[in-house]
Every structure is written in structure tokens, then in C-alpha cells.
Symmetry: C5
Subunit: 331 residues, 5 copies
């Protein structure tokens, strides 16, 4: 699906796809801006936009195409920014929090053109579209400002997402303390991997935003540099939160092992208590299994009953003592 | 309850609610300032202030209303700052340390107007009210300065609160070392959750204060920017303290597990000592349970007594040895 | 005891207490400076200085008076700085390292006046007094510079004190590894609490110094701001050291538990070795306690001796094997 | 192999080695630039370039020669930068990620000359060569800019390499949790050593880049300083990632030990369960091994069968109970 | 031994000690410079230099003299810098890496004079001497620049020394994992103490270099300030490395305890296996020790042999099962 928005005399119009060919990029006046958003485009649509209307380098198209295959084979391209003749090519990863996954968002910005390509509905794109409906302010500041808005919208979602991960970890901690099952361990590992993935995206995005902020590219005006710095600072705060969350996940691992060990030791304690009760009893009975000629007790009438009495008293005595000291079970 | 304060020729007057309608916001001269504080306002009061006197966007009123429900359902709105036409809408969380909870404070600042809304008595509001009674200095610097004062007063309470949490953790550590009960664990978890909540509020508040400080909003004059930076720095120091406290809470978890394990191992040691004493005794008696034809001891007159003697000596000997080595109990 | 120093035509004179009333604060020329140091003043002396000579607010006197009670009830006032009309009131905590405690130092600075109040001999005061004897340089730069000197002298003692705590922790580590007694644990906890107290003082002092440095107060000239920043930087370095020390103390806790567990496991190992030796022996003897009709060994002449032989060989053989493997004791 | 590239009237020519002697370094005009890349040069080639064409200090040649031996004896020279008369000598370590090793890259830069020496194909050199084929822009900015490009290309590869190490660690964590074998431990240790090596290279490279950035050397123009600062910032981000990875490796060690202990305790639990079942049984049978005269059970016809019944019921009962509580195996 | 170097018309001459008295400090022209290096001076030499030629304060001489005693009693003076009339007195600690110890280096710098005092050969002094032989550049920049060179040379040795400590720790880790002996623990503790000592020196040196860098002293020209800042930055990087190394040493402690516990648990497992094999055997034999009248097996001809058969099958069966599960030994 292709959506075309064009700034026309201080209003933003949405054009039908067919009209794209009527716009000549070279003829666009300074201040004009065309945004072409491709969501799951067909091969023909892609060829039309990136082949004929705004022809880009073969490598750029290959990288964009990869987004599709990547989703299937689960190997996204690293976020990057590349400076081509007359346009800038940016790959970033946007969050799809509901599914705990990231999707590729490819962006091309030219002097008066913004082209976005993605395989799924993205908040960053939606937010930008909504902003455009409300006001032409953003549009009038050029594609570099729109790029910043998209990045900002993307980064804005990171912090709540990290908070969400944190909440899950705290819930996981409680269930781990309660019953440290294998499933808990699997979930902890899954969370750790999720955090690692997040951290990597943030690190690479920081690299990109840093490059955009430091004025390496002619297409990013120096005035916007300040906005990219804000995004960068935001990313640093996200990193801080992620670090804390990572530590939490790491400590959760220890909680799991400690909890497992604790449960196990409880079991061993109970077993040891049982052994400890029966050993003296066996000793007593083995005493009267001795074959000495002169063992007066053996000939008493109530000797046997007496021994049972002793055995039971010892058993009950130890049982009471252990219970009193809380050695018999529970915690 | 609604409290209205107005700066009038270098004095601050408190007006009756009824007089609010006599003030026309549009007619206020530069330098004039009206502060309307709503604490648990009725629906009518709210309508009067935010509906007719200073009409705000529907969404703002919805967010403010949510504070009420939030308190009930325990889900506060994330702190945020939003730029509307002619006014700024800020939601922050203030501490209610005595109850270990946070409450929502909604603030609207216009060119000459400050409106605050909260469901409970708040220190930040009290402090501002007191400051206004003493001097008109703060009032004369405009609503953006008053906002900064409120935030400062709020943040000022964070550090002592963190210190308090720290004190509790140290007390908890001692009781955990003494007797690592389930209740200790529950309290540790509660403290961890409290720290996490605090950290999240601080992080979100930092985001807001950062945005206020960096001059994104026209209603915050550049001169006040410096003051917001101070608040921001203060928040960073609070974050540092919270980090230390969080680490403390995490280490407390380890103390709990170590302490539990230590207690348990003591028990197992004592049980093992008992087993170790009875095994040799059982061996001795089982020796004389053997049925060999030629076992001279069995026919001795005092064989049986002798065996008891040996058994008792071994038992007592081991008991003494274990006691001497401190293996029998205590620590 | 009250000590009065006055800068008089480029010399510093120490006046008798009685002469205080001859000095009129309002008449002091710019560049003049009077330093009144009160150590454990009587109620009359205090009244004379803070009541008639340099009258201060009731609250200030209450806070100063609290220092006395605080020492008794062990609850010091938080360090703070307050701006009054015509003077600045500062409360800081000075170290009394020999006793591992902190005492309150109250400071009032006016345009030409410095008043200090403390209940004990303090290095910070001594250092300033010594500096004044040597040169009038410091005095001539005004009370704000003297305040900075006092804070600097105070902070200067923090780093060696932290180093001292660190040394004690390392000594404690060694004794803990050697013999992890309850007393070690108590000392570790005491050290942790000491570090926490230090950290809190440093954090609050940082807040104060930060406020003094950032030019919030008219009585602190902007030129001195730079010096306060130095003190602040120094405090940050102290914080870093404290963090490292805190981590050390935390790890010491783990060392204690690991060491305890290690000792305990050694005991359990030895006990288990004993059990393991006696179980096979008991098995052997129980074999010959069986009542089969056809057990040839029972009727052999040397059957009994032979069994003893087997028992002893097994016992000695296992003993040798365990000793060889180092399972019998030591480490 | 020697490759010679020369900037000639805005084109870059690759000269045959024989022509090197035709270029007189002293005659090179400002703006001209010769890059001589030596890969595994013969002794004669080295003598030709560094002996006659661009004569360098004996020590420089010794350090370069050491790269060869170093590869054999596995002891690379520390990265360093040295200022000689008329040229700068830099040693850095480049990654050879496929083999998890680092190789020495020696660089000499003069006013119009860049000489590189390495024993293997390096990405940093390739990238520079490719860049030169595409455009003369880089060449025209002089050897100091080329040096920066090489360092940048080198550092660019660090981050993905660290990510790769991280991935391996996560895979290792899973296999360690599954089966904590000795081989896992060996791999963890190998990863730790790899990370340590990386960290050291990064630290030393930071020192070099810092010196290049701060304008210590006349041959690095102040304008390029900014680019070196970027490389430095990049290195700091790499350091951050390495720190996180190092912590991960450290925690993996704990996972290994916890996992080992957990497996072992499972075994001990099962063994203890077996003991605990047999002890009561032995007690029962030993009771009927007693020699009392009056033990009615002994004379019952089905006494023996009954005892077997009791023994089996106890054994089965305990087995069922233990299984129900999950004490018998698995996790 | 005293070495005197004097800058004389753009050459540096080494004077005989006797000629020292011919130089009049007061007569030295601006730009002239005398460096007096005292290594293990006799009392007379010291008196000659610091008593008559360049008279310094009594306290300075006492502090210098303390270096000697300190080496004996192992208590070095804290690094410090003091401003005297006409000269600056600096105490720093230099590394003697070969012996893992630090020695005091006392430095006095005047307007045209540099006096150094040390008890042993020091790299920092050697490096400076070598630098002076090669060029007069450094000498011509005055004593403050020479001081910076010495500090730089000193600090330059810190990083490789830390790397060395790190290498030792990694080697120690491997040997600890292999065989966690008491000696390993001793070495770990020694390393920790070494790191702590290093850290303390670095912290104190940072304080000094910071004071020198911030322009507190008139004898340090503002132009040199920049160089001291470089030394300071270098020290911060050393601190970072030390922190990582410290963490490594701390984690090593845990490795030691985990490794000890692991070894011990292996032993306990093997012992438990032995017990677990013998308990069922003892049960079987005790069954046939019962005295029931009607136990058919007792009267069978091959009953006894049969029991032995059962016992051996059970023992061998369990042995095989345990071996198969890998419970019998090794890891």
C-alpha cells in the first residue's frame, strides 16, 4: 500500500498513487515536500517509486528488500545510515511491543522527498501521519525534521516498553521465589534475551542518531542537529533504564538458583531428620539382638514390651524436639 | 475545595470562590498572576474553573479526572507535559511518604494563570502557599517560576524519603540475619517494589523537567531554564541515591538466602552429628549379634556389661570430641 | 567558650568576650570582619551573641540549640543552608574520626560577620584559626571565603577517613576468612552502617555546597563560586571512594557467608566420612547375624577372628584411602 | 607485496614498485600524497621503502620487524604513537575477527607520505583502498585524514565483534544451564580472556586516539582533531558494550557454578531418599532380630510373612509419598 | 648521591657537587634552571642543599626525612602538595613495579630551581634525565613543565602495571578453578591489597594533579595547566582500569569459594554413594537375622548362598546404575 502526501500551498494533500508520476522531483520548489509511505508494497509499486520516480542505488533496494526476507528468517539488518549522492538512506528498528519483536523501517530522505518503507503498521509512521493531519508546521521544516520526528516517536515508545519488561521481571521474581520451576528459568532466559536485543538496537540507534546529530550529512541542516541531540539524550536515558533492567534480570537468575537450592535443602533436611530418628531406634533393637549368655533383660517377662516402650519414647521424644525446633518441614 | 490567590499591587490576596468569575483572564495585565488551587473539587467547581473560567481541552479534563479514578484503581497516569494552545499541561507524581504512595498532581500554566489540581494535601502545594504568604517575590516572577518552585519542593522531599527507605533496609538486614523468616522476604520484596516505583517516577519526572529545561515551550521563559536545570541536577542526585538503595535491596535478597542456607546447614550439621554417633554404636552391638560358635566374649559373665561400657565410652567420647570442636550447635 | 577575632588594620586581634558589645555590626566598614567562635557556650553567652549582638531568627537559635540535644539523643539535624534577611545560616556535619561520629557545626555568615557554633573541638575550626594566625589573606577575602575554607578543611578529612575504613575492612576480611565468627558479622554490619552514615553526610553536604556554588545567595560572591565548585568536586571524589568502600563491605558479607558455609561443609564432610566407614562394617557383622542353618563360616574355629580381620582391614583400608585423597580433615 | 598509490592531478594512480625511486619525497608539492602499503614485504622491499626512499629511525624499523616475530611468539607490541623528526609512527592492533586474533598495523605518516605495514589482509586497509578508488576526496585531505579513516574503519568493526561475543555468551549460558560440563567452563574462560584482550586493545587505542585528538602532534592538523574525537567517542561506546559483555561473562561463571551445584544436589537428594527408605526397614527387621524370650510375634505362624508385609507397605508408602512430593528425581 | 644539571646558554651541563655553592639562586636569570637530584643523600648533602643553598621550611625537611624512615616502617606519607613562600613542595608515590611497592618522591620547585629527593632509582627521574640529554626543549619551559613531565612519566607506568596485575589475576583464576588451595586464597588477598594500594595512590595523586591543574599555585603557569589536565585524564583512565581489575579480584574470591564448595560436594557425593549402596545390603542381612520360628529360607540348603547372591546382585546393580549416571566420581 502506498500513501502519498504532498505539501501544497500550506495544506497537505493525500494523492492517489497514480498521480505520483505527475510529480517531478527535480521541479519541486524549495519548501515543497513529498512523503511517500510504502507499507508492504508490491514489486511493481516498489519499482515505480524507487526505480522510476526516485531512482536509488541497487544496494539500497537490496537492503530494503532484505527487510522482507529478514522478517521470515529472523535476521534484521543492523541499523545504519548511508550517504548517497543526493539522498540519505537510513535503516532503523522500530518496536512492535505487542509481539516483543522489532521490525525494519527503511527511510530515504532527499532534499524535498521523504520515502519510508516498512512491512507492518508502525507507531512511528502513524504518529507522523497524525501530526501531519493536525498541522503543516512539521512538514514545512523539511524532511530532516520529519526524520527526527519519526525517530523521536520511535524512541518515545522505548521507555514504557522497558518499564513493562521491568514489571514482568518483578512478577517473575515473585513466582520464582514461590516455585522455582524450569519454566521460570526459561522465562528468565527469554527476558534476558529480550533485554539484550533491546540494548543492541538502542546502541546501534545511538550510533546513527549520533552521526545525524554531529553534522556529518549535508541533508541534515545544522539547525536540526539540536533535535537529534535531544533524541540522543533520550536514548541515553533509555540505556540507563535498560542497564538497571539487565541487572535485575541477572539477579533474578541468582534468585532462581538460590530458591532452587533452598527448596532442595528443605527436602534434604526432612530426609535427614527421618534418618536421624531411625538410627537410634535401630541401635536399641540391635543391642537386644546380641547373643550374650548373660543378658538379664532378655529373660524378663515384659522385656520386649519395655524395649518397644523405650523405642517409642525415643522416637516420639525426638519427633517432638525436632518439631519444636521447627526442623520438620515448612520453612 | 478551591483556593484563589491573586497578585494585586504587590500584595497577594486570597479571593472567595464566588469572585473567580469577576476575573477576566484575557484582561490580566502582564505581571499579574492568578493561582487557582483545586483540592478534591466537586464536579461543579471543576466545571466552573476548567469549563467556563479557563476553558481547557477535553483531553486535559479527562486526564485530570483520571487522577481520581487512578487513586482507586491504583494506576496513575505517567508523568507528562503537553503543549496546548495558550497553556501547558503537566502531570507529576508527588510523594505521600507517610503512606508510601504517590498521588497525581495536575498543573496548568497559562501566561498569567496557574491552576493546580490534586486529591490530597500535598507538601509541594503547602510549601508554595507558605512562600506566597511570606513574600510576593516568587509570584512576581510568573507562573513558570511557580511551577519550578513546586517541582523543587516535590523533589526536595525525595532525598529524605530515599534515606528513610535505606534506613528500613538496614534494619531489615539485621532482622534477616537474626531470623530469616518468610516475612522478611515479603518485606524485602515490598521494599524492592517501592524502590522500583520511586525510580520510575524519578525517571519520568526527569524527562519532564528536562523538556521544561531545554526551552521547548514558549510559556517557560529562557531565564527560568536555569532553575529547571537545577531541579534536573537534583533529580540526578536522587537517582544516584536510589541506585545505591536498589543495590542494597538486591544484596539483601542474597543476605536472606545466605542466612536461610546457613540456618539450614546448622540443622543438618546437628542431625549429621547424631547419625555419626549412633552408627559406630550400632556396629558394636551388631558385632555381638553374630552367630559364630566360637565367640568367647559371649560367654563371659560381664560381657554384656562390658559391651555397654564400650558403647557408652564411644558415645561419650565422640560427644566430647564434637563439643570441643564446636560441632554440636550454636554457630 | 567564646573566641572573638577581629581584622584590624591588617592584623587579626583576639578580643576578650567583654569587648564584644563595643563592636557595632552596623558600623563595620567594608573589608572589616569579625569572627565569633562559640564552643559549648553557656545560655548567657549564646544570648549575648545571637540575642543582642547579632540578633538572628528564633528558628535559627532553635536549630543551633538542637545540636546539643542531638548529641545526647543521637539524631543530628540534616545539613542545610537557609537564606535569612542579612545573613546565611548553614548546618554541616563535621567528622570526629577518633570516635566514628559526626557533630553538628552551625555557621552564620553576614556581610562582615562569621559566627560558628559547635559543641566540641573541631579540626575545621582549628585549621581556620591556625590559618588566621599565619596570615590575614584569608580574612581579608570576607566571610564567604572563610566559610569555604572551613568546608574545605572538613572535606579534606573525609578521604583519609574513608581510607581508614577501607583498611579496617581489609583487616576484617582476613579475620573473617580465618574464623567467620558472629563477632565478625557484627563488625561488618557496624562498618556498613558507618559507611552509610558517611555517604549520607556527603550527599547532603554536596547538596549544600552545590547550592552555595551555583550563586543562589547574595552573600556568597560570584568570585568565591569557583572555590565552592572545587569543594564540590572534592566531595564527588569522596563519593567515588565511598562507593568502592561500600561495595567492599557488601562483598565482605558474601565472604562471611561463604566462609561460614565452607567451614560448615568441612565438618559435614568429616562426619560423612565417619558414617561411610561404619556402614560397611555394620553390614559385615550383620551378615554373620543371620540365622541360616547352613552357614559354614559360623562353625569354623577362627571364623570370629577372621571376621574381625575383615572388619579391621576394611576400616583401615578406607581410612587410608580417604586420608590419601585428603578427605579426612584440614582443607 | 607493495602497493603504491599517488595522487596525480586529481586522479589516484597505482604505480609499479619499480617507479618508487622516481618519486622524490622532498620534491612533493603541498597537496600531493603518496601512500605506500607494504603487506608481508620481503627484506629487500622493506629496505627499499624505509631504508632508502623514506629513511626512518632504526627503532621504528625494529618495532615494525617485531610485528612479524610477534605473530609467531604471540606477543604484540602495545599500541603506541611516537613523534619523530618529520614523521609520526603509530602502532595499532586490528581485529582479525574470523580467527579471534589481533594483528599489528604499523603506520608512518609524513607531510605528504603515508606508509602502512602489515602481515595480513586487513579490513582497515581494504576499506581505505576502496574509498580511494571511488573518490579522491579523502586523498586530498592529507595523510592525517587517511590515518583517521583507517582508525575509523578499524573501530567500526569492534562493535559488531563485541555483539558477536555477546551472542556466543548467551548461547553458552543456555548450554551451561543444560549441562554444566568442564568444556563449558573452558569456553567461558576462553571468552573472558578474549574480552579482556579486546578491552586492553580498546584502552590502549583510546590513549593513542586521545593523543592524536588533543593536538599534541604538528602533523595532525587541528581541523582533523574533531574527527579523531569522533573515533574516541566511538571507542568509548565500544568500551561500554565491552563492560556489559564482561559482566555477562562474569555472571556466566556464577551460572556455571550454580548449575553444577544444582545438578550435584539433585544427585545427593536422590541418594538421601534411598537411604531414608532403607533405614526404617532395617529398623523393623532388627526388631525381630532381638533375642527376648517373650516375643509373641516370633512364634506366630504368619509372623514372618506379616513382617514382610509391613516392610513392603512402609517401603511402598514412603516411595509413593516421596514421588508425590516430587523428591524422587527430575527437577 | 647528588646530581646537578644546569641550563647554560642552551646546553645542559652536569656540575660537580662542589660547584653547587657557586650558584646563587637569587642571581639566576629568568629562563635559567637548576635541577638538583638527591638520591639517598647523606645528612651533610641534604643540609648543604636544603639547609644552605635553597633553605626550606623545617616541616618540609621533616617530611622528606620521613621518606627514609617510612621505607623501614612501611608507612609512606600521603601524597600532597603544599604552597610555601617562593616554592612548592610536592610528595608523590612512584611505582617500583618489580617489587610491587611504592616509594616516596619529594619534589621542590622554585622559580628557577627543581629539587628532587628519593631513596631509590626511579623511572620518572631517569626518563627526565634522558629527556634532558636529548634536548633542552623541556628545560627551557621551566620547572613547572619538568614537574609535569615527571608526573606524566610516573603515570604512564601505571596502565601497564595494572594490565600486569590483570594478567596475574586471570592466571590465578585458572589455577583456582583447577585446585582451590589455601595458597590461592592468600594470593588473591595479596592481589586485592595490591590493587587497593594502587587505587589509593591514584586517588591521592589525582587530588594533587587536580590542584596543580586548576591554577591554585602561582609557580605553575596557566599555560602548563593544560598539561596537568592531560595527566589528570590519564589518571582517570587508570582509575577505570583499576576498577575493572578490582571487580575481577572480587569475583575471583567468589570463584575460589565456589570452586572449594564444588570440590567438597564432589567428595560428599561419593561418600553418599557408598552409604547408599551399603544400606540396602545391611537391610537384607538383617532380615535373615530375625528370629521367627517359621522362616522357610533359613532352612533351605542354599539359603545362605542365595542371600549372598542377592546381596552381590544388588551391590553390583547399584554400582552399575550409579556409574552409568556418572555419580561415582570425576565431575
Amino acid at each position: 500500500m502506498i500513501t502519498i502526501r504532498i505539501l501544497h500551498e500550506s495544506t497537505i494533500q493525500t494523492l492517489p498513487v497514480a498521480d505520483l508520476s505527475t510529480i517531478n522531483v527535480a521541479d519541486l520548489k524549495p519548501g515543497a515536500l513529498v512523503w511517500v509511505d510504502m507499507m508492504q508494497p508490491t514489486k511493481e509499486e516498489e519499482q515505480m517509486v524507487l526505480g522510476s520516480w526516485f531512482p536509488v542505488h541497487e544496494l539500497v533496494r537490496a537492503d530494503i528488500a532484505r527487510a522482507l526476507r529478514a522478517n521470515a528468517e529472523e535476521q534484521l539488518h543492523h541499523p545504519k545510515v548511508e550517504d548517497y549522492d543526493g539522498y540519505l538512506f537510513v535503516i532503523v528498528h522500530a518496536l512492535r511491543p505487542d509481539e516483543d519483536e522489532d521490525v525494519q523501517l527503511s527511510i530515504i530522505i532527499g532534499a524535498n522527498v521523504l520515502i519510508t518503507h516498512h512491512e507492518e503498521l508502525l507507531h512511528a509512521i502513524d504518529d507522523l501521519a497524525v501530526a501531519c493531519e493536525h498541522s503543516t508546521k512539521a512538514f514545512r521544516r523539511g524532511p530532516d525534521y520529519l526524520l527526527h520526528l519519526m525517530l523521536d516517536a520511535m524512541v518515545e515508545r522505548y521507555l514504557p516498553h522497558v518499564s513493562q519488561i521491568e514489571d514482568k521481571l518483578y512478577a517473575l521474581e515473585e513466582s520464582t521465589l514461590d516455585n522455582p520451576s524450569q519454566q521460570c528459568l526459561q522465562e528468565i532466559l527469554a527476558m534476558k534475551r529480550r533485554i539484550q536485543a533491546m540494548r543492541r538496537i538502542v546502541v546501534y540507534t545511538r550510533e546513527i542518531v549520533n552521526r545525524l546529530a554531529r553534522g556529518d550529512f549535508d541533508l541534515i541542516s545544522r539547525d536540526e542537529s539540536f533535535y537529534y541531540r535531544n533524541v540522543y539524550d533520550h536514548l541515553i536515558r533509555v540505556t540507563d533504564q535498560l542497564e538497571a533492567t539487565r541487572e535485575l534480570a541477572m539477579s533474578l537468575m541468582e534468585v532462581y538458583f538460590s530458591s532452587t537450592a533452598s527448596k532442595l535443602n528443605q527436602v534434604i533436611k526432612v530426609l535427614t531428620v527421618i534418618s536421624t530418628i531411625f538410627l537410634p531406634l535401630t541401635f536399641i533393637s540391635s543391642v537386644y539382638g546380641m547373643n550374650f549368655e548373660f543378658m538379664p533383660e532378655l529373660h524378663w517377662k515384659y522385656g520386649y514390651a519395655m524395649v518397644w516402650g523405650v523405642i517409642l519414647s525415643v522416637a516420639i521424644g525426638m519427633g517432638i524436639m525436632f518439631r519444636k525446633r521447627g526442623w520438620l518441614g515448612g520453612r
